[in-house]
Amino acid sequence: MFKLRDKYAIVGIGNTDYTKASGRTVRSLATEACLKAIADAGLKVADVDGIVSFNFNDSAPAIGVATEMGIENAGYAVDYAAGGNGANLITLAACAAIEAGLAETVVCFRAMNGRSGFRLGGGRDMSAYGVTQYTAPLGWITYPQAMAMWARRHMIDYGTSAEHWAEIATTFRDNATRNPRAMQRAPMSKDDYFNSRAIVDPFRMYDICLESDGACAVVITSAERARDLPHKPVYIMGGAYGGGPTQGDDLFDAIRWPSHSHNCFKYLADDLWGSAGIGPQDVDVAQIYDCFTYSVLMALEGLGFCKAGEGGPFVMDGRIQKDGALPLNTAGGLLSEAYIHGFNHVLEAVEQLRGDAGARQIEGAEICLTTAGAMTCGSAMILRN
């Protein structure tokens, strides 16, 4: 279990514009986001001695970004090979590195040309090696196709329906209308949702996240140092990473997973809440990894906001809207803000806890949950101000 409650804090955040075609190298996006985060923290590059990222062979290496920024001596420069599950892992890893004495102040980033470059939701190598030999030749290739298989099982087990997913998609779009960073700000009605194109049953287009070019970064340092910096520190109360015993060869390999009506969060929940010393009832606002509408239900159920199978009814009747009991994805999420592989959720969490979220601000927000990942492996953090 993560044992560093409140010892480390996020002190700076930075991001590029989120676009469909950046026209830039991924490294330059990463460097821009990192420099903005360092400046936001009131620090100089010389104050940073660690850099950590995650990627799918679609990004710039951490040490390359460190080189472009002129970091003199990066004591901890690491790239995790990870999908969406990595977005909260790298921040926990930064805390661990500082605790171990490998660095004092670490910048964490995710950068990608996710629309104009390598598209995660697109095709794959046409030679099917490893576990892919049992999936790709069947025409089961993309992440929407993978997650649709999970969503169907939730429908079978619990009677979940597109009505529930429509509530999620339209709620997050409504949040995006208050977010100048969001790629999709046009209002979406339930009719718009139901009329959107069938991609892979049971998913329509608006069940599926955006594809984005862009980068996000945060700076993490000790709580003592954070108190001398310009912004209100956002403390990392708790966190967890993992997902049980049958995660398979990669995130797509769910053939062995016990049931696709739950995901990694069922296995993370005890460590997550235990590390922070709180429970779901204490969360004021949450940023849930929404690569698909359906993944939100599995996180809510797995982490105990509701019982298994009750995620659909739970999100109805305004509960997850801005003025609801549990506001979710206040910037619009991966469905409507941008898909920076879930790292944009961490930036929104920090803005909410600083009280800097403008028209999106949840009044009095003190504790924010962030999650990352949707299938067999994931990560999560509890942040507080």
Partner: protein
């Protein structure tokens, strides 16, 4: 009877030291998967060590019968140049009668007729002289 054979342009499986008996079995029109003698469990995808016992599994022919655990209907083709004339098509997770699950297309069944727990049986879909893909069709369908 074989599933309908059409010109195949999709990803080609690359058999390896763990999977060759599976693909050789399909080529011979037999569904051959692993079973761990120590735990009695059938295993798919193939492994070198059974996670339950850490023993090396044996290869056995199984009934080829099972039930649909979950399924998708692909309507938007990705990549388009390969799947544009294939959609809509069905991919399923099938729970074999022997207990483990495997992936396959569902054939000889309209997409809207696929149902949870529908009983299915193995069909064989030769795509090259070396490779035959697994498929399932409704029993009695």
């Amino acid at each position: 009877m074989d599933a309908p054979m059409t010109a195949y342009h999709g990803p080609l499986p690359v058999p390896d030291s763990e999977s060759t008996p599976f693909w050789e079995g399909l080529k011979a029109r037999r569904l051959v998967i692993q079973r761990c003698a120590a735990t009695g469990e059938h295993l798919f995808p193939p492994v070198t060590f059974c996670p339950g016992s850490l023993e090396r599994p044996e290869w056995v022919e199984v009934s080829g019968k099972g039930r649909v655990f979950s399924w998708i209907v692909v309507r938007h083709p990705v990549p388009r140049d390969i799947y544009a004339d294939q959609v809509p098509y069905v991919v399923a997770l099938v729970t074999l009668d022997e207990g483990c699950r495997m992936t396959a297309n569902i054939v000889d069944c309209a997409p809207e007729d696929v149902a949870a727990d529908m009983p299915v049986e193995i069909a064989f879909r030769p795509i090259t002289p070396e490779i035959t893909l697994p498929a399932f069709r409704p029993i009695g369908g």
